[in-house]
């Protein structure tokens, strides 16, 4: 029989709050976490707005040495993992150590450290001044590395770098690691801290970012007719996955079951999705099939919904194609309307939104949806969250390079749905 995987702990830092509870509270009340960029002087940039993490005190989680050594993305991952482990009431003793793994994805890694230190290097033209800690501060897999050290997790370790799908790729791979029997517990999710000159300038150069600088809180407007690009953001979402019997034996609280993961590639373009987004539809279909369900069984999709003209249109087309008549009963919302686009962290945080929506029976809204865009004909849960009993929730994320990653969570019940 297939090993079942459940979610037992959640931890997050987002533009909406420095914990899962604060983030969730803000999301269900439809608040925006977007504001003017404070991390650097953005006055000469086309896009001057972002979803920044606010008032985060890393010293609560790490000592002075670690604070100096780590890039923000590592600090966010450590803090969120601490919160997730505490939420799961889990400590990794010697008996669990080798059966516990870590897979935390990031699109970029320590970009702000790269930029700052390279600037110093150029200014002083002295390679002797390159700090000792730069390499382990910037490598994307050092979120996973530091978290494994912190908790003594000696099982499988990895770091998918699949752009904006990285968090979802991580959770999907962690899920399979448990299903295949290579581990019993996985600390997994996504992290990003890349509100930097290079990232904002680079995404702007691609015309990917919103330029609604005078109304930051209205700039991220997925599926709206006046959407003009995504709003860059940072964040971290970490979940604890456990093999069902391990979770039951230790009396863990089970938030939900992770029942399916679909991953496909567009093989089309480095950045743009193809019209109709067939790969996205295929990923959703694979996740649904793996869970032993049918499209009609899906109640809620936390969409990728970036607020770019192309993504929102083609994701809508993919959902229409796959679900047909069932779209009338299907709720689809984009929490990026509130968080902005946290790049590699988005899959981690949106998995948490999907899990919370199942656990609380509340669907977070798509805010700033005043007039749906052309062909945007789904129930996007506009502007106000909805209380509704649901049994299944999917999380879509798509990344540059043509990555389409989809997770399917369902309410946990003791009986196993029979598979074909």
């Amino acid at each position: 029989m297939k090993r079942r995987v459940v979610v037992t702990g959640l931890g997050a830092l987002t533009p909406l709050g420095n914990s899962v509870n604060q983030t969730w509270e803000s999301a269900v009340t439809g608040k925006s976490g977007i504001g003017p960029i404070t991390k650097f002087d953005s006055s000469s940039y086309k896009s001057q707005i972002a979803g920044e993490i606010k008032n985060f005190d890393a010293a609560q989680f790490v000592n002075k040495q670690e604070l100096r050594r780590y890039d923000d993305f590592i600090l966010y991952a450590i803090a969120s993992s601490e919160m997730a482990m505490a939420d799961a009431k889990l400590t990794i003793g010697p008996e669990l150590s080798e059966r516990t793994g870590v897979i935390i994805g990031s699109a970029i890694g320590g970009l702000s450290t790269i930029e700052e230190e390279f600037e110093l290097l150029l200014n002083h033209n002295n390679p002797r001044k390159i700090p000792t800690f730069i390499v382990p501060a910037i490598l994307a897999n050092l979120a996973s590395g530091n978290v494994s050290i912190r908790f003594g997790a000696k099982g499988p370790i990895n770091c998918p770098v699949t752009a904006c799908a990285a968090g979802t790729s991580a959770i999907g791979d962690a899920y399979k690691t448990i299903v295949y029997g290579d581990a019993d517990i996985m600390i997994t999710g996504g992290v990003e801290a890349a509100i930097t000159r290079m990232a904002v300038g680079g995404f702007s150069a691609m015309r990917a970012l919103s330029q609604r600088n005078d109304e930051p809180q209205k700039a991220s407007r997925p599926f709206d007719k006046d959407r003009d690009g995504f709003v860059i953001a940072e964040g971290c979402g970490i979940i604890i996955l456990e093999e069902l019997s391990v979770a039951l034996n230790r009396g863990a609280r089970i938030y939900a079951e992770l029942a399916g993961y679909g991953c496909t590639s567009d093989a089309y373009h480095v950045a743009a999705p193809p019209p109709g987004h067939e790969g996205a539809a295929r990923s959703m279909r694979i996740a649904i099939k793996e869970a032993g369900l049918n499209p009609e069984d899906i109640d809620y999709i936390n969409a990728h919904g970036t607020s770019t003209p192309l993504n929102d249109l083609y994701e809508t087309q993919a959902i229409n194609f796959l679900f047909g008549e069932h779209v009338k009963k299907l709720m689809v919302s984009s929490t990026k309307s509130m968080t902005g686009h946290m790049l590699g962290a988005t899959g981690g945080v949106e998995a948490i939104f999907a899990v919370k929506s199942l656990h609380e029976n509340i669907i977070p809204p798509t805010i700033n949806l005043d007039n749906p865009g052309e062909e945007c004909n789904l129930d996007y849960v506009p502007n106000v969250s909805r209380r509704k009993e649901i049994n299944t929730a999917m999380s879509n994320t798509f990344g540059f390079g043509g990555v389409n990653a989809v997770l399917l969570f369902k309410k946990y019940s003791e009986s196993q749905v029979s598979e074909e």
Partner: protein, 78 residues
């Protein structure tokens, strides 16, 4: 500020330790929780602060706070 006080201030700024822990005999690795990367980083700070250059071979000989101070004195720092 004496040389000793300056060195200890740099150590306290850099490592997760108090001034009281920084006795002369304290070993960076065994007593002050540093690793080899911390020591290199610390000596880079010393180079900057005291205008000296520390070669890699010299670095390996540094174990305690006293070693740093002796080394700096040897280089003519007061």
């Amino acid at each position: 500020m004496t040389l000793e006080e300056k060195v200890i201030k740099l150590i306290v700024d850099q490592l997760d330790v108090t001034k009281e822990q920084c006795v002369l005999e304290a070993s960076f690795i065994d007593d002050l929780g540093a690793d080899s990367l911390d020591i290199v980083e610390l000596l880079m700070e010393m180079e900057e602060a005291f205008g000296v250059e520390i070669e890699d071979e010299e670095l390996e000989k540094i174990v305690t706070i006293k070693d740093v101070i002796d080394f700096l004195k040897q280089k003519g720092v007061n």
